[in-house]
Amino acid sequence: MKHLDLLESKSIYLLREAFNAFPHLCMLWSMGKDSNVLLWLTKKAFVGRIPYPVLHIDTTYEFPEMLEFRTWAQCYYRFELVIKINEEARAGRGSYTTSIGYETHDPVTVTHELKTVALQQCMQEHSFDGLITGIRRDEDATRAKERYFSPRDAHFKWDYKDQPPELWNHFSIKKWPGGHTRIQPLLDWTELDIWRYIERENIPIPQMYFARNGKRYRSLGCSPITQPIESHASTIPEIIEELLQTRHSERAGRAQDHHERHAMQKLRARGFL
């Protein structure tokens, strides 16, 4: 079997296992390249259907082009879209004494409140028990230690010191009140695999990944803390060629990862993706 076929087949297997195990399953979608591969794999796994709601955690700091893509893709794929904003945090209401935003707070705090906490609120509101994510092991050293099925308690805590075993095709499908399981079908994929697959399958993605005026985005997050890279890669083959040459990490342009040593571990232990 070819490498991409094997990756695709395993991801489909995982999606189908998740759909069988969790009655209230949903899928995170950030409109980025990995998220769009996930949507595509979902269509393949369920032979044309998207049988669970698709969740966008909107920080209100989204690039306008990404929001345009969101509208376009929803029409194109026809799925149930749930959009969630942590309104209280933005407005400084409820349990928040001040408004949370990049103008006033550091990226780790903002990421936690506007992404993790918003996700937590959304999971609670809809009683979701399974959450499909698009994280990959090659993105970050703590993601490299993740499981395909990763249990989280009601506080979203990642018990990375005591992760359940996974043996062959058997995963931990634990359920407890308020908690959920993360299903991570893209763990084995690398950034290059994602691009080769997008090219092979012709998967729609936002234009911001392609170079304009000598710059392109390699990874997309909130607009104030996401930096483009110097690049002239304006087609997928050029992007692939660029990745084969580069000595830089994919998430180098994402400020919250590099705020302090172990920033990602701290964010992730509290429930960030």
Partner: protein
């Protein structure tokens, strides 16, 4: 180099502190595989922990791991040589993290076993070798490490090397390579050491490229494991994965287990979203959705085969089992067996041949129970038949996991009963 071949999965195993993470860190460092950000983080972390350059920190990313210089959980790192792609998995050497080691080992095709020349064969060295043998990982590169601490002595190396060969023979594992190294210095890792002119073999990197990748079982007997049935406008879709063999449109399948009468049906179609023309074949490793000509009841857990080369089904099983849980497994205990997508309740009827991994001696215990991290032969009785193959004939459907309310608590392979011959 072919970019279309799947990467080879390799796990590093061995006793705590013998240098597993350092070896992988060194390999990545010496082959220029680290990004600038990874290198910067490595220097920053080493400085923060008061070290010169701690290569293990590339893998040991958690702050607890770096502070205590141990590996807690398995890390997967993509790596490539001029020959091919790899996924390197760094396993922890601590006893308490054995379940994490096993998680990695269950998807490994080959292993690198590290043994510190100063400590020699230790408890986890022996246990890991036992597990490699149980899991059928028979391509092992043995690395005898920290030779700098014995002045690169050939004599010291030969001594540990002989003990290692003996251990491998006891577990019926071949020993293709034994390499003397100093991982922290990079001796014999990516380039040959000038400190050990007496060594005439390969470097670790060269040995990697000599390993044989796993073969797909396209030619084997068909085992199509059913995950689910989805309703669709026309015919119900039977979804699952071909674990062995291949299936074709219009061929006849038998669905197992066979309880009240046979369930046979022909494949009407293989359905694929977005395919330019509907596929006619599916091969081992592929996740597929099929429709059937005849309407028969099919459900999750079923395994489909061809009319010839059928799997076995039985309510009594012999399993060579590795037990992970702190709470022992007892005779008469009820527990779930997971094989393919089957999940069946079984009762333990007998436990025998408990082996102490560190001494290789049989343990006698009465009443009989299986303790954490021990291997034994366990007999199970089930109410409903389990569909399987013997592990020595078809590993994919010959191995199973054990589940209790605690989650996955054991892993095993299905073996023949004592006076049962090969069918």
């Amino acid at each position: 180099m072919s970019t279309s071949a799947p990467p080879l999965h390799i796990i590093t195993v061995g006793h705590v502190d013998h240098g597993k993470s350092t070896l992988l860190g060194r390999l990545l460092y010496d082959t220029d595989s680290l990004s600038q950000e990874q290198l910067a983080a490595l220097h920053e972390a080493s400085a923060a922990e008061g070290k010169k350059l701690e290569l293990a920190f590339v893998l040991d990313a958690f702050l607890e791991e770096q502070a205590e210089n141990i590996t807690m959980d398995i890390t997967h790192i993509p790596f490539r040589t001029s020959e091919r792609h790899y996924v390197m998995m760094d396993a922890p050497g601590h006893k308490e993290f054995l379940k994490n080691m096993l998680t990695g080992a269950s998807c490994a095709e080959a292993a690198i076993l590290l043994i510190s020349i100063v400590d020699g064969l230790q408890e986890q060295t022996r246990r890991h070798v036992q597990l490699l043998s149980l899991l059928g990982i028979d391509q092992v590169i043995v690395v005898i490490n920290k030779l700098d601490l014995v002045n690169f002595s050939q004599e010291a190396f030969e001594l540990v090397s002989q003990l290692t060969q003996k251990l491998f023979q006891e577990w019926a594992l071949p020993v293709p390579w034994i390499i003397p190294t100093a991982a922290s210095l990079g001796e014999n890792i990516a380039s040959l050491s000038s400190q050990m002119p007496w060594y005439e073999g390969q470097t670790v990197l060269q040995c990697l490229d000599m390993l044989t990748p796993k073969k797909f079982l396209e030619k084997g007997p068909l085992r199509f494991v059913v995950q689910d049935i989805y309703s669709s406008e026309k015919f119900p879709l039977v979804v699952g994965r071909v674990e062995s063999g291949s299936l074709r449109v219009s061929e006849k399948l038998i669905f197992w287990p066979q309880e009240r009468g046979e369930r046979r049906a022909r494949v009407r179609s293989i359905e694929e979203w977005g395919a330019s023309s509907p596929p006619q074949h599916a091969f081992a490793g592929e996740s597929v959705a099929i429709t059937l000509e005849e309407s028969i009841l099919v459900q999750r857990g079923d395994i489909a085969s061809r009319p010839q080369q059928t799997p076995l089904q039985c309510t009594d099983l012999n399993v060579r089992l590795f037990w992970l849980e702190a709470l022992s497994l007892r005779v008469d205990q009820k527990i779930f067996l997971l094989l393919g997508t089957q999940r069946l309740l079984a009762r333990v009827t007998f436990i025998e041949n408990i082996v102490d991994a560190t001494t290789m001696k049989l343990i006698q215990r009465s009443p009989c129970s299986l303790h954490q991290h021990e291997v034994a032969d366990v007999c199970f009785h089930l109410h409903q038949p389990l569909v399987f193959d013997y592990y020595d004939e078809l590993p994919v459907t010959g191995r199973l996991a054990i589940e209790s309310e605690k989650g996955l608590v054991g892993a095993g392979i299905i073996i023949r009963k004592k006076n049962e011959s090969r069918s």
